[in-house]
C-alpha cells in the first residue's frame, strides 16, 4: 500500500509541476488555461493522497470546472493579437526567474541535509512521525462540525464577503453600462 502511495505521489507531483511550468511558458493563453486545469486536478489528487476527500472534491468541482469556465470567458472577451509579444522580452524578468529557480533548488536541498535535522524546524517533522498513524474515519463530518462550531464567525464573514463581491461586480457592470449609453 505504501509503495502504491509513493508511486502515485511521484507521478501526480511530476504531472502537477510539469503542467504548472508549461502553463506559464506556453505562448497561447488557451493552452496555458488547459495546462492550468491539469495542474488544478493534480492538486485535487494530492488532496486525495492526504486523505482530505472533501477538499479534493471541492477542488475538482470549483477549480477543475468553475474557474476553468471563468478563465475561458475572460480569454474569449479579450484579444489575442499581441500574444507572442507578451512573454519574456525583458531581461531583468528572466534574471529574477532564474534567481527564483535557484532559491527552489537550494531550499529543497537544504530540507534533506543533516543541518536541517538539527535546526528547530525539524521538531515539526519529529512530531509528524508520531501522529502519522492516526486514521481518518470521517473527515467530512469533522470538517462540517468544525465549520459550524469553532469557525462559525469566519463562515458568516465569508458569506458577507460573497455579498460584497456580488455588489461590487454589479456596481462595476452598471457603471460601464451607463457610460456606454452616454457615449451612444
Amino acid at each position: 500500500m505504501d509503495n502504491i502511495n509513493t508511486f502515485l505521489f511521484y507521478i501526480i507531483s511530476i504531472i502537477l509541476l510539469c503542467s504548472a511550468v508549461l502553463s506559464i511558458v506556453s505562448f497561447r493563453v488557451i493552452y496555458a488555461l488547459l495546462f492550468a486545469v491539469v495542474a488544478f486536478i493534480s492538486t485535487g489528487c494530492v488532496y486525495f493522497l492526504l486523505n482530505a476527500q472533501f477538499n479534493a472534491v471541492a477542488q475538482l468541482i470549483i477549480y477543475g470546472t468553475g474557474v476553468a469556465i471563468l478563465f475561458g470567458f475572460a480569454i474569449m472577451f479579450t484579444s489575442y493579437k499581441k500574444e507572442k509579444d507578451l512573454f519574456l522580452n525583458i531581461k531583468p524578468r528572466v534574471l529574477i526567474a532564474l534567481l527564483g529557480i535557484g532559491l527552489i533548488i537550494t531550499s529543497s536541498v537544504f530540507l534533506f541535509t543533516e543541518e536541517f535535522k538539527k535546526s528547530p524546524f525539524s521538531l515539526f517533522l519529529k512530531h509528524s512521525e508520531t501522529s502519522k498513524t492516526i486514521h481518518f474515519s470521517n473527515t467530512i463530518q469533522m470538517i462540517s462540525e468544525k465549520m459550524f462550531t469553532d469557525y462559525i464567525f469566519a463562515f458568516e464573514l465569508l458569506g458577507l464577503f460573497f455579498l460584497l463581491a456580488i455588489v461590487g461586480i454589479g456596481l462595476i457592470c452598471l457603471n460601464k453600462k451607463k457610460e456606454s449609453t452616454k457615449n451612444d
Binding site: F9, A52, N55, Y63, K82, G100, S131, F136, I169, C173
Partner: protein
C-alpha cells in the same frame, strides 16, 4: 537517501508546495499577459492549500484545522478571481490590451 525518497512524509509535500509556489511567483514576475498572471496567483493559492492540508494530516490530525482553512482559501480565491476578471474586462474596454505594462498609468 533512497529510503528518504521512498518513505513519503510531510517534507515531501512541503517541497512540492514550495516548488509550486515559486513556479507561481515566477509566473507573476515573468508573464506580461494579465490572464496568465491570474493563473499564476491561483497556483500560489494551491501551494498554500497543499501546505495547510499536509500540516493538518501529519501534525493536527485530531482537529484538522488546516482542512477547514483550505475550504475558506478556495472560496476566497474564487471570489477574488471573479472580481479580478470583472475589473480586467472593464479596464480592457478602455485599453484594448491585456498587457500589464499598458496599465502603468493606473499607479494611483
Amino acid at each position: 537517501m533512497i529510503k528518504n525518497l521512498c518513505d513519503i512524509g510531510l517534507i515531501h509535500y512541503l517541497v512540492i508546495a514550495l516548488l509550486l509556489f515559486v513556479i507561481g511567483l515566477s509566473g507573476v514576475v515573468i508573464c506580461k499577459n494579465i490572464i496568465k498572471i491570474f493563473i499564476s496567483i491561483e497556483f500560489m493559492l494551491c501551494a498554500v492549500s497543499i501546505n495547510f492540508i499536509a500540516f493538518a494530516h501529519y501534525i493536527d490530525a485530531q482537529n484538522i484545522n488546516g482542512m477547514v482553512f483550505n475550504i475558506f482559501i478556495i472560496a476566497v480565491g474564487v471570489v477574488q478571481l471573479a472580481v479580478l476578471i470583472c475589473l480586467l474586462y472593464s479596464v480592457y474596454n478602455y485599453k484594448k490590451s491585456v498587457d500589464i505594462n499598458d496599465f502603468e498609468e493606473n499607479k494611483g
